[in-house]
Amino acid sequence: MLGVAVIILLILTIYPLLFSLFLSFHKWSLTKPGPWRFVGLKNYLSIIQNPVFWRIILNTFIFTFSAVTLQFAAGLGLALLFSREIKGESVLRSLLVLPMMIPPILVGLLWLFMYKKDFGIINNMLKLLRIEPITWLSKPLTAMPAVIIADTWQWTPFMFLLLLAGLRSLPQEIYESSQIDGASFWQTFRYVTLPLLKPVISIAIIIRFMDAFRVFDKIFQLTGGGPGVSTETISLYIYRNGFRYFNMGYASALSYFALIIIIAFSMIYVRVLRRVGER
């Protein structure tokens, strides 16, 4: 039985990983006849020398850090609100998690219409406030924030649910003690809640970070990576090279580059957490 499981794991996970690693050292185009050609590290060197790639990595980190920070802040705020008993809590909670249930590509489509200058709801609301409508997706300065907002709308409920579960699992006696000691809300939050919630926060952030780093659907739908490359992220770039230009070797090398970056970040993150924990 274990043998069957291992074989399935090998076929579905290990083999594709090893094959794409093998491919990353080759030049292979799906739209040109002929077998793949070994090129050594040429694909990786091309990536390093490509200024567009580094701009895209920067975009990916800007998107990821901004989106995860906003989602954490909003999620924590909502979780604190819901940590006490409120009327109609179950209905409100169900409504809050709805965005998470919508497929990301549809979220992109929804926000694409909402951002439309002539008939989008956001610009209509701005008009009511006598603010000039904004062409959200046509300017580099507003396109990235627009995408971040759409992602935040969808994934804040995820943070909210995790943090709420964490808050509700905290022992109440500590809060009663801090109340007796006369601690203010802010002091309780800073010296009691946050430290106790740290394990849940770490997990929530790392999960969301890995997800946000791989963002594809929303950006594909909203901006296609434009204007220029101002909202292009690594997943979209890999997709473009693999399935628009059909350069499979180069796209495989890009995937491994992205994997190295995310592993490196995760290792740094875990080390920093450990050090903070020791302190």
Binding site: K32, D118, L137, S138, K139, T223, P227, G228, V229, Y245
Partner: protein, 424 residues
């Protein structure tokens, strides 16, 4: 004994009838899976006629429609894995070089008088519109598809707005800009642009050709100065002026569908857009400018032709050729156009009085066929297009100088060809 003789005669009679039936419908019982690009009006018209083909031939047709934005990768992945998923492909000429390794030449079918009646099919009816109809699907003497629908960009304009301003339709690019400036007023923009990353270069190239620019036909002839020269600079500067002074700012995210929609909504006075959407502007259900739109051909556009092709791994190639022949025949192309298709590629259909009465833009479409052109037909064109578009969008959004953008874009385009081995 008599009973047995009668039984044998009945069996022989049925067998004879079956053979005769099979001779009439040699592909009866076979199924053809056809991949169509979704949304083309011509396909909508053709689908209404398919039951007729099924009845005539006994072939069962299954149509698989896929969106324009994703059909290329879907099909190429299936073709490279040799899944035999399709018998007929709907191939846009721009993607033809990428499909090329997977297509089956149909010369053997066309050379067989039992399979192809050249006089009845009338190839000249296609090539007299423009030789590019067949040229787009021919490589090294092999014909790899039959043209199914054609589209060329035209200048579409609001007749009422031009009349009000005392203007005639522009006859060249400079008039286009001058009129666009004049018509940008009262909440209406002079032009709509498809300035998205996937549409911008196509549109810019029209201005490049209009100013006398040219691209040599072979990739080996591409130079770093092909797009870095005074003509290219003039075209890009014009594009920037149009974007800054005459076009809706959200044009930066538009492709031809949104550009057409802007005309339907009455927010633009002119647009350089594909002829495929000709019927959109006269549809009272979706257009606010019914009867107010005209079209002319002030400069050459790209000849966009879609063809029906047979993949190498198609399980039923002869039956597929029957479909190709039928769908691109004179009669069916005429009837498809009457049923709502808007871009035939046969001159007889483009000149049909009954059709041209309704599809008034066919006069401009006929004229444009005379001087339309095609670009470098290589698999790397998508990445070159993208390399240009990235820099051109920076010109529109970040104030990058057009000269610098052209230099960087040309170097990047040249590098793509270099890495692909064209200069070895």
């Amino acid at each position: 004994m008599r009973k047995w003789l009668c039984l044998i005669m009945v069996v022989v009679a049925f067998a004879g009838f079956g053979q005769g039936f099979a001779a009439e419908k040699p592909y009866a019982g076979q199924e053809l899976k056809i991949s169509f690009i979704a949304g083309f009006p011509t396909n909508i018209g053709l689908k209404t006629l398919i039951p007729e083909f099924e009845k005539e031939t006994g072939i069962r047709i299954t149509i698989i429609e896929t969106g324009y934005g994703v059909i290329l990768e879907k099909n190429i992945l299936d073709l490279s894995a040799q899944t035999g998923a399709y018998d007929v492909l709907h191939v846009e000429s721009l993607w033809f070089p990428q499909y090329l390794p997977y297509l089956y030449p149909i010369n053997e079918f066309m050379d067989d008088p039992k399979l192809f009646n050249a006089a009845e099919y009338d190839l000249e009816d296609l090539t007299s519109y423009t030789p590019l109809t067949l040229g787009a699907f021919t490589r090294d003497g092999k014909l790899l598809g039959l043209p199914h629908l054609a589209g060329i960009p035209l200048n579409w304009y609001r007749k009422d707005l031009l009349d009000r301003a005392g203007l005639q339709p522009p006859q060249d690019v400079d008039e286009y800009y001058a009129y666009a400036k004049k018509l940008t007023r009262d909440g209406v923009y002079g032009v709509a642009l498809s300035a998205s990353r996937s549409g911008l270069v196509d549109e810019w190239l029209s201005f490049f050709f209009a100013y006398g620019g040219a691209i040599r036909p072979r990739a080996e002839q591409f130079l770093k100065t092909t797009f870095d020269n005074p003509t290219a600079l003039k075209a890009l500067e014009l594009y920037k002026r149009l974007f800054d002074e005459c076009a809706p700012p959200e044009s930066l995210t538009w492709e031809f569908g949104e550009v057409g929609s802007a005309m339907q909504r009455g927010v633009v006075a002119m647009m350089w857009n594909w002829s495929n959407g000709g019927s959109w502007y006269d549809d009272p259900e979706v257009s606010t400018v019914v009867g107010k739109v005209g079209a002319n051909v002030p400069w050459p556009g790209r000849f966009g032709v879609n063809g029906l092709c047979i993949p190498q791994d198609a399980p039923n190639k002869e039956a597929a050729f029957e479909f190709l022949k039928w769908a691109t025949s004179k009669d069916i192309m005429r009837r498809t156009t009457l049923a709502g298709g808007s871009t035939p590629c046969r001159i007889s259909v483009l000149m049909d009085p009954q059709i041209t009465k309704k599809n008034w833009w066919f006069e401009a479409l006929r004229e444009s066929g005379r001087w339309s052109t095609m670009y470098l037909e290589i698999p790397e064109w998508s990445s070159m297009d993208d390399a240009l578009a990235i820099e051109f969008q920076k010109v529109l959004t970040t104030g990058l100088s057009p000269a610098k953008a052209l230099r960087t874009a040309s170097e990047n385009a040249y590098k793509i060809l270099e890495e692909a081995g064209y200069f070895e």
